[in-house]
Symmetry: C2
Subunit: 387 residues, 2 copies
């Protein structure tokens, strides 16, 4: 407890944009998020009062950081499970636990556990050799998807391979780096969906509406909330699935379940146990933002309502300018606000570089097509300028 | 401009809750508010990354602080006008200017200027002696209101006096402290209202809906947005008055106009040129919060829409526990969220003390009576606990 305020201290390992936006939410709750940053220029380190510098895989740094925190939680999945167990054994309250987080860190463990639970997932197997990949693909059909078992995010650690030769190239590179792989059927999908919930140590659960995540080259570029044209019974089925997973895996904090919407039904693609890009829309678009909800969950506060604040909410990720030079980011922001004054902008304090995710924006209103057009127009101004 | 982000640096003199919430808004705009704090434990100093310690009336501290800021603005009215002029003369971009801010710092200057502009204000005069007060009161009728010309806020610097003897007591105490007074007719009013707008250097203006401010003992305890049962033509008249004042006084940033709603029409009571308690509802209740709007205004960004996000929004100020001891503030927050999970809480990082304003909360929904009851129930839990 912070003696100055009588309120709890939450420490977050990692200081990227998720920690940055969690700090914003913490301020409202009377707190000041404590962050363990890899670097002074990390997105959250630029704006938080209490910043420690240290590596997320350095146990000594983690132990020092955890001292005085009422709860420790995560901005990313890169903290080794054994380190988390060591903190917990020393009495630190860590949420989610190492046992839960494992299923967001290790795709093999996740796929295996989901199958045990009878949850539909794409066909997959763990592979060590080209022959195993070819054997799998001969059954499932080329192309197939190779995935790094650990460490992938934002389209990294995922490779679409068309033939045995491409498969061998990925395998060789990954083996050289000590990385394990699994191969997965390339699912024929209509679209990608995601559902997010929060769960408290007490076991209370609050589920957000199912959203559609629009992907380009394996990277989420837009989120539509709620997912358009989703049958009610499918939405209920997905919410029940998420609640069951959170409970079975004993998740505390946020859980995001990324889904494939296929002609044959819903498949689970990925799990994340932290604030997630697919939930950024909730800052303005839901009565409780995912960031406040995560804090409430890990602190065992009663959770907030997840209902939408408008019929249609669209989040667009902001990528850095297409080329260096031209209008500055500040000039572009002027033009953006002139064109779309009601769009809500969230910049992460990152130096703009072509293709770099420097922020996101959210638009909301009555009609999805209109809202989406506004959001896209605003994002285009930031990316391309106005000449 | 911050070299790390390419975005402007706004400095705020003063580090209370207004700076704290402005920092939250600045984070979204890719910035990190720089604050000049009187003390490390100030509300904004607890949560901001860039904190300088210094007094708001120390010109050297102000000059040092202003270096590297693209714009300097204010959390309070306590910066001497000559200091602001010295900064501006040295090339610092300060908003609002000393010439505008004067009318929020000096009630005599404000009343005098409003009269020149033909704006209706309560009957008043500047007084130095008991005889002058008695003479005024013999005309206007007892009781009368005495006000400190400078430095009053939140019910301080305002005295209701019933007779010449009470008047003499206030006069003696103020004269001993070197403070000037004015006397004012005690207006028979139906209620108090407020209107807030933002104005940019370019001259763009964005006006929020008129709100009702519920006062107890001269302190604002609740704000109802929009003001219930306000005739449309009165709302328009008030908005036009505010725009005229902002333009005539050349305000840049936020302007709040506090008003008396009397049987004989609308009178102007006070002006403020910074984020204001009567606008806290806008964080969740308006499409653009007053804090983001203030930043957009002082940076000459196009302003955001002021429309409500729900038909009824109620803000309640949170006062510290009625007595020391009992449930901790953290326990009370648990109970508050259990009873009213959808109420949005903003705590300012202040150690709770009886009667101290430690935060505010906002509820919103379809129906004012229901929303207000929810907000009051939640505030009562924080103030009294749950036994």
């Amino acid at each position: 407890v912070d003696e100055r305020t009588g309120l709890p201290i939450v420490g977050m390992i990692g200081a990227g944009q998720l920690a940055r936006m969690t700090h914003q939410a913490a301020i409202g709750l009377g707190q000041s998020l404590r962050v363990l940053a890899a670097d002074r220029s990390d997105a959250a380190a630029l704006v938080a009062a209490e910043v420690e510098i240290g590596a997320a895989d350095d146990l000594v740094a983690l132990q020092r950081f955890s001292k005085g925190c009422d709860v420790v939680t995560f901005d990313h999945e890169h903290v080794p499970g054994d380190h988390i167990r060591a903190l917990a054994a020393a009495g630190v309250s860590v949420h989610p636990s190492a046992d839960a987080l494992r299923y967001a860190q290790d795709k093999h463990a996740m796929r295996h556990r989901l199958e045990q639970l009878g949850v539909p997932v794409p066909a997959w197997r763990r592979v060590n050799t080209q022959a195993e990949i070819v054997e799998f693909a001969d059954g499932a059909g080329w192309p197939v998807v190779l995935k790094a078992v650990r460490g992938g995010y934002d389209g990294r650690g995922v490779w679409m391979v068309d033939d045995p030769q491409q498969a061998q190239q990925v395998l060789a590179a990954q083996s050289a780096a000590g990385g394990e792989l699994l191969v997965e059927q390339r699912v024929s999908l209509r679209r990608e969906l995601a559902v997010q919930l929060a769960r408290s140590p007490f076991g209370q659960v609050a589920v957000y509406p199912v959203v559609e995540t629009v992907q380009v080259d394996g990277i989420c570029v837009q989120v539509l909330a709620p997912a358009p044209d989703l049958p009610d019974d499918t939405a209920v089925e997905i919410a029940q699935l998420a609640i069951r997973l959170a409970t079975e895996l004993d998740v505390v904090g946020l859980l995001t379940v990324e889904l494939f919407d296929t002609p044959d039904g819903i498949l689970v693609n990925e799990l994340a146990m932290r604030p997630h890009n697919s939930g950024h829309w909730s800052i303005e678009g839901a009565r409780t933002s995912q960031f406040e909800q995560h804090l409430r969950a890990v602190l065992d506060y009663p959770l907030g309502p997840c209902e939408l604040t408008a019929p249609a909410v669209v989040m667009v990720n902001l990528l850095g300018p297409e080329q260096e030079g031209g209008q500055s980011i500040d000039e572009r922001l002027h033009h953006l606000f002139a064109a779309e004054p009601g769009v809500k902008v969230h910049l992460y304090g990152k130096r703009p570089r072509p293709g770099r995710k420097i922020g996101h924006l959210t638009a909301l209103g009555e009609d999805l097509a209109t809202v989406r057009a506004r959001a896209e127009r605003a994002a285009t101004i930031l990316r391309e300028g106005t000449q």
